[in-house]
Amino acid sequence: MSTDNFKIQIRKGLLEFCVLQIISRGEVYTSDIIDELKKSEIIVVEGTLYPLLNRLKASGYVDYKWKESNQGPPRKYYVLTVEGTDHLSQLKISWKEIDKSVKNIMTIKK
């Protein structure tokens, strides 16, 4: 496996977690989510976020409201639902476990 492929697979797995994490801070506009994800190099192509958000909405983890904007059409602002908050805390626990395991493996010396 090349390093590129390694990165892609890991990012993909963590995308949902990161998106929920960003939304959990409070109402957020879709493009701002994308900008942040791009800056931290979690996503490369932006289009993938839309199906993901749609799926999170369908699962009941997030919801959105329309807000008027002074530049252009109304914008979608995403918020976390109660189920989403639960789901996120579960994911956080899993992430911490994985993080710990990986660190352990990396620090053990022969």
Binding site: I34, V44, G47, T48, Y50, P51, G72
Partner: protein, 442 residues
């Protein structure tokens, strides 16, 4: 100098170069057709358009126009249909592992529901729906339907399927290589070109085979017409690429538009051109006839159903009158119906002699048939969609049961009448003409 167009995307207006516009349109179309298949309630396309619009306004000033490079950059940033697919594939894997065995089965059954494919149709999408269900190329099921039409049986099955199977827009399924007619390179209907593409051979060979077979008892002609009806025309770039067996990826779409994939069809030599010339002439005429025939077909079916409905109504009135012994009642609305002859049998007398429960059951049967017909006509002619398929199948079922029940009882009643000599009496009175009776009974 370049020609520019003005587009409205995400409620903002932009100037865009013609070639850049083509690419952007193909891109958005590919996304659209992909998400239509998935059937999400949310408008992903709108979100994506809004985002693209934001990007556009960040890179250009009001007076500038977007060029091919701008659009390409944005498409690279947004990602292709393949990137979206990954997200959904993951999702479906998750779905399956999350649920237990029984829900897993339901999920599969959901997928195996049959429906008429409205995105891939010649008349009503029945054949392509059946093909999707059995995972075969729609061309095969279309040919089967056409062949069975000759016996008349296929027509009835087709109409029942049309009414009973719900319609759905699911796009063209079978994403791999498919047989398409190609309108860009056609002489008659593009059949030969499509076949040549499918088997990756030279179009001229197929064309010559068709023309030669024309002189072998017209076999080629019928085959050609059947294939013309059965094979869908490649309308979008995606279809055209699929016809040639290319994966529909963004890169390929771009290459295709730029003409990298286009075959040079100018290589036809003079002899082939001369042979094909008369066919190029009659092509438009035949396709014109076709586009007339299909609505005509709809109208003819509806007309037949309409006539049957009228007959049913008349029979219902007749049997209802018979039930209340009003059929020969003087000065009733109809005066006296003294000659409701069907094939030489005077129904007006016989109906009065039927047992009441049988009359009622026959009337019920007519009523159900009439309902079925009304639903059929509204579906076929008016394209009504508010009819619940389950209700329709239920009606059909009740109709069949009533038909069987009535047939059994009627034959019993007739036997009884024969035994008591009633039939002979009627024959003597001229109520039943003896010749017709014989052909009925024997």
């Amino acid at each position: 100098m370049k020609k520019t167009l003005s587009i409205n995307i995400g409620s903002k207006v932009f100037n865009i170069d013609n070639d850049a516009y083509e690419l952007l349109k193909k891109y958005l179309d590919s996304i659209k057709s992909y998400f239509e298949k998935i059937e999400t309630e949310e408008d992903i396309l709108m979100d994506i358009e809004t985002r693209i619009s934001e990007k556009f306004s960040s890179i250009i000033n009001f007076s500038e126009s977007l060029n091919l490079k701008d659009v390409k950059n944005i498409i690279n940033e947004m990602g292709s249909v393949d990137d979206f697919k990954e997200i959904y594939e993951e999702y479906s894997i998750k779905e399956e592992s999350e649920f237990n065995e029984s829900t897993h089965k339901d999920y599969k059954n959901e997928n195996r529901k049959i429906f008429r494919n409205l995105d891939d149709k010649v008349i009503a999408g029945v054949a392509s729906g059946v093909a999707n269900y059995f995972n075969i190329d729609p061309v095969i099921s279309r040919l089967l339907f056409l062949a069975s039409l000759l016996t008349g049986f296929g027509l009835i099955v087709y109409i029942i399927c049309w009414i009973g199977i719900p319609g759905k827009r699911v796009g063209m399924l079978n994403s791999s290589k498919r047989l398409f007619r190609d309108g860009d390179n056609k002489i008659l209907g593009g059949v030969a070109y499509g076949i040549a593409n499918y088997f990756s051979i030279d179009t001229a060979i197929i064309r010559i085979i068709f023309i030669v077979s024309l002189f072998l008892g017209g076999f080629g002609f019928i085959t050609y017409i059947l294939l013309w009806i059965s094979i869908p025309e490649a309308k979008t770039v995606e279809d055209k690429m699929r016809a040639k067996g290319y994966e529909v990826t963004l890169e390929n779409i771009e290459k295709y538009i730029k003409g990298a994939f286009k075959k040079k069809d100018d290589e036809e030599n003079l002899l082939i051109k001369i042979i094909l010339f008369p066919f190029r002439l009659i092509g438009p005429i035949i396709s014109g006839v076709f586009s007339l025939l299909i609505p005509l077909f709809r109208i003819i079916i509806s007309l037949i159903l309409f006539v049957i409905s009228i007959v049913l109504i008349v029979l219902m009135v007749l049997f209802s009158l018979g039930l209340f012994n009003l059929i020969n009642y003087e000065n009733f609305i109809f005066g006296s119906i003294e000659g409701a002859y069907i094939s030489g049998i005077d129904l007006s007398i016989i109906i009065g002699e039927l047992p009441i429960y049988l009359s009622m059951s026959i009337i019920l049967f007519f009523l159900v048939s009439l309902l079925i017909l009304i639903i059929s006509v509204s579906r076929i002619l008016l394209n009504a969609k508010n009819i619940n398929p389950t209700t329709f199948i239920g009606l059909l079922f009740v109709g069949i049961i009533l038909f069987v029940f009535n047939s059994v009882i009627i034959s019993q009643v007739i036997n009884e009448w024969e035994d008591t000599g009633q039939i002979q009496e009627w024959i003597d009175d001229g109520v039943i003409k003896i010749d017709n009776w014989k052909t009925y009974r024997y």
